[in-house]
């Protein structure tokens, strides 16, 4: 009887810790280790080094087809709605996106639909200036849906190529605030059929397993077309996107790697996984 070759217990523990340390999550890590075990049973031996390589390949497979940057197609303006919980980097990321597209000679408009948080409008205004983008805002406290409605009218009239809408951060558990996002989306579609073509969820790489319910609820509420993972310039690995990949088929589009206007990259699954552990 051929005994199945098992991964050495010490090695298994070490691998699990690497996965957990990257915020991949204990259940997803367990599943990845199961597949590593299956591979090991099929061949004679597998030390830590080989198993790490195997795990990286398994993770890349989960994330494949996940990297896809932003593109302006034929339909103009391309309307992008940025959403996410508080403080993850939505406003800053909008500045970065605006800068990239306006550098290509495209006409970009930024819409200050965070009418709630102190100085949110001023913050986005600075980014619009830095990026060379047009800027639309109303008084703090005004209805975000109304701001967006008027902004899209102006965008069409001025022949904008791209419109990016900044929304206030909100926890996914706050149903009334999630409903507000639904309403903003609906109003956009009324004003410009097809808008918003992109609804991007911004996730902070330092976030742990809570990113999974965040992604699920924002997707359930709005239909997310892409994820942006910010603050990857820190020490957090952002491995929770591997757990998210099990639940949603949303592609990771962009990553934030700093606070400057140029600190934005397309998501590259190869590079991301190599950096995980």
């Amino acid at each position: 009887i051929k005994r199945r070759k098992e991964i050495d217990q010490g090695v298994r523990e070490e691998l699990e810790e690497l996965l957990i340390a990257a915020d991949i999550g204990v259940k997803t890590s367990g599943r990845l280790l199961e597949t590593a075990q299956e591979m090991v049973s099929k061949q004679e031996s597998a030390g830590l080094g080989l198993l790490k390589e195997y795990l990286k390949e398994a993770i890349k497979e989960v994330l494949v087809g996940k990297g896809k940057g932003l593109e302006i197609g034929v339909e103009k303006p391309l309307v992008i709605m940025m959403v996410g919980v508080n403080g993850v980097g939505k406003t800053t990321t909008i500045g970065k996106i605006a800068s990239q597209f306006s550098a290509k000679g495209l006409k970009v408009m930024l819409v200050a639909a965070d009418t709630f948080r102190a100085a949110a409008i001023d913050q986005l205004r600075v980014w619009a200036e830095r990026a060379g983008a047009e800027f639309i805002s109303q008084q703090p406290g005004s209805d975000p849906a109304a701001v967006v409605f008027d902004a899209l009218e102006a965008a069409r009239a001025r022949g904008m190529d791209m419109v990016v809408v900044d929304t206030a951060g909100r926890l996914h558990t706050k149903t009334n605030l999630m409903d507000e996002l639904k309403k903003i989306k609906r109003v956009m579609g009324k004003k410009l059929p097809g808008a918003p073509q992109e609804i991007l969820l911004v996730l902070d790489a330092t976030t742990g397993q809570n990113a999974v319910p965040q992604a699920k609820l924002f997707d359930e509420t709005l239909g997310i077309t892409g994820i942006i993972l910010t603050k990857l310039d820190g020490t957090a690995k952002g491995g929770v996107i591997v757990a998210i990949a099990n639940e949603l088929t949303v592609p990771i589009r962009l990553i934030g790697i700093g606070e400057r206007i140029e600190d934005l990259r397309e998501f590259d699954p190869e590079q991301f996984v190599e950096a995980l552990f």
């Binding site: 340390a21 508080n86 403080g87 102190a118 100085a119 001023d122 600075v126 742990g208 820190g234 690995k237």
Partner: protein
């Protein structure tokens, strides 16, 4: 939840209901899974489980008539004790102004929390002066100014006053001027990475120059395994006095709280429970423990 899960694991104990080593290991695995899902750092979980294992193998469980109940009680006790707050009040004694300095990663909630603290201390009869020491983030100074206006709390005008170290020093000089009657300075610093040597150095220089009474790390309740790196580095650089955990009204389990507490030994003093300026509460160890266990 974990208590239900553990109870059902224990229900599988047949007959005499004594806990074998194997029962304990099985149960510890359940607790481990729950704590890791709650974002507690895996090393902190390991150490915690070892403490629980030692107690579970001891007489109090082995000789108990209800070992399962006793086990669950131990898990809760150990966790609450770990979270627990000796000295979880701010120490603002001494000659005024008492200086509170908020530090932490980008977007954790420092600026909002600075204003919340001013309101909280105002309710305790203190007169605060808010100091915007973030010279980098667009409209950061404006943000604190707006919040101060909402509260009727004075905000130092940092614009054109130089770098953050200068701002803090000048603000303190202004606060010390008798006429203002200010007894507390609350410094809002810009978010920064714990691995940014230059910016961490800036915080060290502010500490050196103005000697804050309380240096509080403001951390997001949804922080994952990285909490160990962040807390370790901020504590090493500044010897923080405590922690404020923000965005706690969400559904993040908040395991970072245990990571930070276990690593630094520093108390969690407050939790942020919303975006409005009244949403700040003193930290409750029992509630945090049961939330982490799930």
């Amino acid at each position: 939840n974990l208590t239900e899960k553990l109870s059902s694991t224990f229900k599988k104990l047949k007959g005499h209901g004594r806990l074998s080593e194997r029962n304990i290991e099985e149960t510890l695995r359940e607790v481990r899974m729950s704590m890791l899902e709650a974002d507690v750092h895996f090393r902190v979980v390991k150490e915690f489980l070892e403490k629980v294992r030692q107690r579970a193998l001891g007489r109090e469980v082995q000789e108990s008539l209800t070992p399962a109940q006793q086990f669950i009680k131990i898990v809760n006790e150990e966790l609450t004790r770990l979270m627990g707050g000796e000295n979880s009040e701010m120490d603002l004694s001494g000659s005024p102004p008492a200086i509170v300095m908020l530090v932490g990663l980008q977007g954790s909630g420092k600026t909002t929390t600075a204003a919340k603290l001013a309101k909280y201390l105002g309710q305790k009869g203190r007169k605060s002066y808010l100091v915007p020491a973030d010279t980098r983030r667009p409209a950061a100074i404006e943000q604190l100014k707006v919040l101060g206006e909402q509260l009727g709390v004075e905000v130092y005008d940092s614009r054109g006053k130089g770098d953050p170290v200068k701002i803090c020093r000048k603000a303190r000089e202004e606060a010390e001027a008798e006429a203002k009657g200010i007894d507390t300075l609350i410094i809002d610093t810009g978010g920064r990475l714990h691995i940014d040597e230059e910016l961490m150095g800036e915080l060290e220089r502010i500490k050196e120059k103005i000697e804050p009474r309380e240096i509080l790390l403001v951390a997001d309740a949804m922080t994952g395994q990285d909490a160990i790196n962040v807390a370790g580095r901020f504590n090493e650089a500044l010897d923080i006095d405590g922690v404020i955990l923000t965005k706690m009204e969400g559904d993040a389990r908040g395991g970072a709280a245990l990571t930070i507490r276990a690593l630094t030994g520093k108390p969690i003093k407050f939790v942020g429970t919303g975006e409005k300026l009244g949403a700040l509460e003193p930290f409750c160890p029992e509630r945090m423990a049961s939330r982490i266990l799930g």
